[in-house]
């Protein structure tokens, strides 16, 4: 399915830049894209054809769709609305870009054991996500922590990399596809080594009660 989305995606991007018109930039902490396979097949009008092809191979399309993990990029209303807007704008051939966060462990799996909630890690990215395109060249350094000096200048003590993952969002009948940029956090290897080295050579501070 992804192959069939690429062409309208490229075409949409080219037309958008050629037109130099206004674009929508939708920033959201969540994009609850959910399971994409069924949505893509419906939008491309290929649902029944794929179902028939798989049936002839002795494979159930509903089982295949059930196998897709739900992308844990949001909790509910806010993220679902953001994704619906992107998809609707693709259907309406409105150039739009979504900017969000590619959470790796943003949610947890809730289970109840002996009447108590037990949280288990969400692992949807343990297997390849076929709908995203990693863009290692689009990498930004994000500083955080640290302190602010007397002149109100911020001196961050740690940094992580934000790396872009592009996801095409195709509209109804596959005429147009907008892009959702989800940024994932990656630790800087040098930062990790430096942190370990500092801890190894710095003596522990005295206990405050002694």
């Amino acid at each position: 399915m992804r192959d069939f989305i690429i062409e309208p995606w490229f075409r949409a991007t080219r037309k958008t830049y050629e037109a130099q018109g206004k674009r929508v930039y939708y920033l959201s902490l969540e994009f609850l894209i959910g399971r994409i396979l069924g949505d893509a097949m419906m939008n491309l009008g290929l649902f029944e054809t794929v179902k028939d092809v798989l049936e002839q191979e002795g494979v159930s399309l509903s089982d295949v769709m059930e196998n897709e993990p739900d992308a844990a990029l949001g909790n509910g209303g806010l993220g679902r609305l953001a994704t619906c807007f992107l998809e609707s704008m693709s259907t309406l051939v409105c150039p739009a870009y979504g900017y969000g966060i590619c959470y790796e462990h943003g949610l947890f799996r809730q289970k109840f054991e002996s009447g108590r909630q037990v949280e288990h890690p969400e692992d949807w990215l343990n297997q390849p996500h076929p709908w995203e395109f990693e863009r290692p060249e689009a990498r930004y350094t994000i500083p955080f922590k640290g302190h602010v000096d007397a002149g109100f200048n911020w001196h961050p003590s740690e940094t992580v990399y934000a790396r872009a993952y592009d996801m095409p969002v195709v509209g109804w009948q596959g005429k147009w596809a907008n892009t959702c940029y989800a940024y994932g956090a990656h630790i800087r290897p040098s930062c990790l080594i430096w942190s370990v080295s500092i801890q190894a050579i710095t003596p522990l501070p005295p206990h405050p009660k002694r």
Binding site: F4, T49, V53, L54, W131
Partner: protein, 41 residues
């Protein structure tokens, strides 16, 4: 003809089978649901 324009059942079957074989390294006999999903996706 642009192969991307061919949305017939035969063309889709060929493309899915090709993905299964050459991208995922599986044949139909040993393909799991995960393999089929990735091939269709």
């Amino acid at each position: 003809m642009n192969v991307m324009n061919d949305l017939s059942a035969d063309a889709l079957r060929m493309r899915i089978t090709q993905h299964l074989t050459y991208t995922l390294g599986k044949d139909k006999t040993h393909a799991s649901l995960y393999d089929w999903r990735m091939a269709v996706s």
